[in-house]
């Protein structure tokens, strides 16, 4: 029976088949997202600087700005986690410490993204 299976069937789903470069690709896709959002982000931050509280809140509450801000915070924390992961892999050579740091970075980046997303949603829904 086993010789009826093609080599492709044996390879698919095993090992890193097409997933080995997932970190590399996700890092670049989030980079492209941030590259596209960078101009809008700089403009928004510069605009908020000379607005009072109500004005700043109204600016972020505008649907387009709120959606882009959600996209930005998700992409930025995701990209940061992927980048810090590589730095820790390269420089922390103690196995236990590396695992602790990797998990801590993942948790902190998720908390940062979740808190930022909740803040943007609160701003957007309350106007």
């Amino acid at each position: 029976m086993s010789q009826l299976r093609t080599p492709l069937k044996k390879a698919l789903g095993l090992g890193s088949a097409k997933h080995g470069v997932q970190h590399f690709i996700t890092q670049r896709v989030t980079a492209v997202a941030l590259l596209l959002l960078a101009g809008w982000f700089l403009w928004t931050v510069l605009s908020v600087l000379h607005l009072d509280y109500a004005g700043a809140r109204a600016l972020v509450a505008q649907p387009l700005n709120a959606v882009l801000m959600l996209a930005f915070v998700v992409a930025v924390f995701w990209h940061a986690q992927l980048g810090l992961q590589v730095v820790i892999e390269d420089y922390v050579h103690t196995h236990g410490l590396q695992i602790v740091l990797q998990i801590a970075v993942k948790f902190l980046c998720f908390l940062g993204a979740a808190a930022s997303v909740l803040a943007v949603i609160r701003i957007a829904l309350q106007g």
């Binding site: 590259l35 972020v60 930022s116 909740l118 803040a119």
Partner: protein
Amino acid sequence: MPATARPLSPHISIYRWQIQMVTSILHRATGIALAFGTILLCAALLALAAGPDAFAAVRAFCGSWLGTLLLLGWSWALCYHLLNGLRHLLQDVGMGFRIEQFVRNGWLVSIGSLVLTGLVWACVIAQRGGA
């Protein structure tokens, strides 16, 4: 710290500093700095959601000498990581690998990051003066 004391190959201490290595090191360093900078972005959004008092506190911190110093550093780090990140993406598709292109693009993003940071702060100062 490594678990075993294996011999190491000579590292940056013996190499002549050159733009190729500096741009690479700075990309990593600015990336780490920007990861910490996201704390300020998160704090600013949370404060904006929480109310005028919290937002005033964040704004007061940004106006302090420490806040201004951090913003100056982070704005340059963002400009540098942005431009050098674009350079890396172009390298990923195989562009700019001839030595003279590589060196020229390194200087381009380094000087460009300073120019871009200058433009951002020129906008900030112009707004502050006009307001």
